[in-house]
């Protein structure tokens, strides 16, 4: 069996759950995966053991204190054996994937959503088409979250490699997000509002629903552009964030092609819109033709009684 190297996704000081999905992707490719965990404290790798993974390498280096593309790629590259490299399709890991591919003179295939032998499929033209490519020999790929099942945990067989890289960027200042809310790019459920919300104050209704179900709050570009209080970081779509949650609830959003570009691959889509002909309904698993004023309170109270 050929070898693959999984770059563990990390965040908040631990290995993220999506790493277990990468193991299933590696197995779908018919490869035998080694998991590489970039860290400053090797104990972080102790939880990075999975069924089907015989080896976990903790790459321990000072450069992993803050994200710096060049040094991360260089340290991970030095510690990782050859083989197909698999990362999560998050902004940071796609960045590292691209750099490691370039370092090894390989090609990179980003945002893989299905694997069939050595054929990999990714969305192109913002999801308006799909492209299947064949890889020959080693390459680097990134895999979208919520596509492959998570491999089960197992005891990790960890070896530690001390390896850092030259850092050429320096963090001057961290600006913490104003709200403690989840970011749309990290959330499994997203409640998004559009121009149909009528005012930025009305987004508080979306926040209430989001709090009930542990969701992030997103927005359409019309909402972001119209209201200063709705920051661009909330924008979903072509010029906002691409999201792939289990559930996307679009409220007062018409469903313009550029909005769909950012969220159409969501597993389930709910649309609340007063216009029965709004294009969003063509993409919704569950559509509610009603004003949000009518529908949201019902949805919120029903979901909150389910959650309790």
């Amino acid at each position: 069996m050929s070898e693959s190297i999984i770059i563990a996704e990390t965040g908040k000081g631990s290995v993220s759950a999506v790493t277990a999905e990468l193991v299933s992707a590696a197995i779908a490719l018919g490869t035998s995966p080694t998991v590489v965990v970039p860290c400053t404290d090797a104990s972080m790798a102790d939880n990075a053991g999975y069924d089907g993974v015989s080896r976990t390498i903790a790459v321990k280096g000072a450069c992993f204190e803050n994200y710096d593309a060049a040094s991360w790629a260089s340290a991970i590259d030095a510690a990782a054996p050859s083989g197909i490299i698999i990362a999560a399709a998050t902004p940071q890991s796609k960045d590292i994937a691209a750099r490691i591919a370039a370092k090894r003179n390989l090609s990179v295939v980003q945002d893989v959503v299905s694997i069939d032998g050595m054929n990999l499929t990714s969305p192109i033209y913002s999801g308006k088409a799909m492209q299947t490519v064949a890889i020959s020999g080693d390459s680097v790929i990134s895999v979208r979250a919520n596509v492959f099942p998570a491999a089960s945990s197992a005891a990790a067989n960890v070896s530690v490699v001390d390896q850092s890289g030259d850092v050429s960027t320096a963090v001057q200042e961290i600006m913490a997000r104003a709200s403690a809310r989840l970011d749309v790019s990290e959330a499994n459920i997203i409640v998004s509002g559009g121009r149909g919300m009528g005012s930025p104050e009305n987004f508080s209704h979306l926040e209430k629903l989001a709090d009930v179900i542990g969701a992030a709050v997103g927005a359409s570009r019309a909402a972001v552009d119209t209201w200063d209080d709705i920051p661009h970081s909330m924008q979903v779509g072509q010029t906002g964030k691409t999201v792939n949650p289990n559930l996307y609830i679009a409220v007062g959003i018409s469903g313009a092609i550029q909005h769909l570009a950012g969220m159409r691959s969501s597993k389930y889509i709910v649309a609340i819109n007063k216009d029965a002909d709004a294009p969003i309904f063509a993409h919704a698993d569950y559509g509610i033709v009603a004003t949000w004023e009518e529908a949201l309170p019902v949805l919120e109270s029903e979901l909150s009684s389910m959650m309790s």
Partner: protein
């Protein structure tokens, strides 16, 4: 970086984001689409022009593509870049990322650039590979998804981090991949459009390794089964139940 930077901005020709993408046979048929500068590249151009205005130097817009890609270079010229360069070799067809990045990196070296701005991803590939990949090939720093750039006392950029965003200073040569941010992009004015009409595209050549990733097929997105649609706010109760019992997402 020298005192007066030699700035390159990468611009890519992509179908207008409103365009319908039609698949015929097993390839996307782009014969009828309107072509535009990839949306994030507009922010890259704006940042490059602001860099020049703050530090001097010159801005060269660079694209890799066939002659049809000249249009986006002229569009960039109309917005205000100084030089426009297209890298191409008639033997190239469906290139993989390794080929595209090698050729662009070579052209950037030949241009003697010290800083490169590009889009965080292109509207066709959505990949976000080119900026960091080129930086690696050039041995440069790179920062991606940049929402703000300042030039006083060296290059400082704003980029998202786990709990918000960080202001990061960059030493040495760098590739900056640009997200939308709060800057307003300037639009071409009449004088710019006139200058762009007369502007000459310099066409340069480069080498590219042959592709190891080959396109098997391009297909329409999988059709979603028709959803369920309900009238009236009270139906939200039924939808909530379905989210739990049918979709299992709650």
């Amino acid at each position: 970086m020298k005192n007066v930077p030699n700035i390159v901005v990468l611009v890519k020709r992509v179908p207008d984001t409103n365009a319908r993408i039609v698949v015929s046979g097993d390839r996307v048929d782009l014969s009828a689409v309107k072509w535009v500068i990839s949306p994030y590249d507009e922010f890259a151009i704006e940042n490059a022009l602001q860099h020049k205005e703050a530090a001097g130097g010159s801005v060269t817009a660079l694209t890799l593509g066939p002659a049809g890609a000249d249009k986006v270079l002229k569009d960039a010229k109309a917005i205000g870049v100084d030089e426009i360069v297209r890298v191409w070799n008639d033997s190239w067809s469906e290139m993989d990322s390794n080929g595209i990045q090698s050729a662009l990196a070579q052209a950037i070296t030949d241009l003697g650039a010290e800083v490169v701005y590009c889009g965080k991803n292109a509207a066709d590939t959505g990949a976000g590979s080119t900026g960091p990949g080129i930086a690696e090939r050039l041995g440069w720093a790179s920062v991606s998804n940049v929402t703000d750039v300042t030039f006083e006392g060296g290059l400082t950029v704003t980029t998202p981090v786990e709990n918000g965003s960080a202001r990061v200073s960059v030493s040495g040569n760098a590739v900056v991949s640009c997200d939308k941010g709060n800057i307003k992009v300037r639009k071409p004015n009449v004088k710019g459009i006139m200058m762009a009409k007369r502007a000459q595209v310099s066409v340069v050549s480069a080498d590219a390794p042959s592709a190891t990733v080959t396109i098997v097929s391009q297909t329409p997105p999988p059709a979603k089964p028709a959803g369920k649609k309900y009238e009236g706010g009270a139906s939200a109760q039924e939808v909530a139940r379905l989210l739990r019992d049918e979709a299992n997402v709650i």
